[in-house]
Symmetry: C3
Amino acid sequence: MLFKFLPNEFNFFDLFDKQVDYALSAATCFKELASKGAIDEGSLEKIGDIEHQGDEVAHEIFEHLNKTFITPFDREDIHALAKEIDDITDMINTIVSRLKIYNVVSVDKNLIQFASVIEESVRAVACAVKGLRSAKNFQSIQESCVEINRLENVGDKMRDVMLADLFDNMKDPITLIKLKEIYQDAETVLDVCEDVTHVVGAILLKQA
Amino acid sequence: MLFKFLPNEFNFFDLFDKQVDYALSAATCFKELASKGAIDEGSLEKIGDIEHQGDEVAHEIFEHLNKTFITPFDREDIHALAKEIDDITDMINTIVSRLKIYNVVSVDKNLIQFASVIEESVRAVACAVKGLRSAKNFQSIQESCVEINRLENVGDKMRDVMLADLFDNMKDPITLIKLKEIYQDAETVLDVCEDVTHVVGAILLKQA
Amino acid sequence: MLFKFLPNEFNFFDLFDKQVDYALSAATCFKELASKGAIDEGSLEKIGDIEHQGDEVAHEIFEHLNKTFITPFDREDIHALAKEIDDITDMINTIVSRLKIYNVVSVDKNLIQFASVIEESVRAVACAVKGLRSAKNFQSIQESCVEINRLENVGDKMRDVMLADLFDNMKDPITLIKLKEIYQDAETVLDVCEDVTHVVGAILLKQA
């Protein structure tokens, strides 16, 4: 009765494509910025804009989800997917803000390494999510998910080595506090990418 | 079949009203306490009691939710709403406990500022949640949600300025650790208030 | 009684038993390790293996959940239960990794105390979860849940006392950073155990 007046189908795939492109832009922007070791106002604003636009797409997805009766896959999976892609962009923006707030201006080799792994992982996330349009992409989606999981393990080990080194050698506690938080945040981005593979895995299984 | 034996309607609104009043009491108590800059045993106990009572209402909501067949809006939304209002009270209680544990006794101007924004935001949360009883409050609920979102942005910027200042000027790392965590927690309260607007927004959309 | 009427397409109980046994192994391993105050490579590897095996059982549960039409209790409760038992094992593994990364090698009386409470709590979690097979365990499940809640309160107070003591007496900020994080993580394990009681409570209520 209620549903009669609601649009009963909606193309969520176009919005997911847009959302995941924003996440990838954020990752690329972060990679460039890390290699320059300088947080200029321009990049800060750019990544803030990307985050804002990504946020709007997420809200569009949530709105359509609440108004749409027939969805391409389970509502909870659509919600979780939009939430987690949003978290990727958010977290990258958070790291860049912290670099500014903590006044970390020199090039940090560890951060360059992390930014590069993050960009690879978000690129694989984009492949997996964009593949969801069609069952024929099953194989390539699975390959992307394996790659994302591999990169999460790589990131885990990177963070552990970096933290052990930091606690061994950094004598200034305030610098230690800054870098510790930034490395942990960087690893969190890879965790969120892995969370995406869980949702994607659930979607594939249910369609199998 | 099973449902025949279950109470099939229950007035969740009364419980939400009670729960959100506890959240507001906690916010008001925190504001008073911040302006005094002293955590006496009395206020500590008072806020602990409020948290405990709020917790009991949350549990009552969860219990009724599991036993009730017909709910005024989606079960998942009722669950999320109760969880997030509970998180507001919890988080305020956590901040006050930390002030005690970290032995932060002097008046901190930043904290007074945060406590004031938090109280404003929780007041708007109370308006939004209490409005859910009737469709005629649609307009005022939306205004409250806009206000909560505005205050979250205010809090975000406040925290960033305070942290930048802290990292620029605080030379004692242990004091820095304490205040950094407290400012971040304070901002988290505003994030949780914003989470409430997402649930409220979903409820409004579904009823539209 | 209820379970009798459901054609159990898949026996989730066996997997939950396995999963909760891994959580308990992790807790026991952590307790031994804390009392030795030495993180040798052997225990580190052992707890890593347990975490990995627990992870695989969690994934098995998620996969079966996505493929099984009729489940012994609500799908969301099965998902939440598997997620939270996994979080217990994960968090214990995280603490042990941190001890290694932060090079915390001496025996810490606080950690021994925490490890002992954690093991008690995870043992009660195991009782509660294993009891879910049959309605006749209702009473003993409830007793386990009460015990888990009691231990969470104990842990809360323990952490507060330990942190207050740390901030009062520890003059080395880097050691303070390490121990603060480890005590907070230890308390988080007890929080996750308490989260299990919420899911278990919901399951019991729905079957009542």
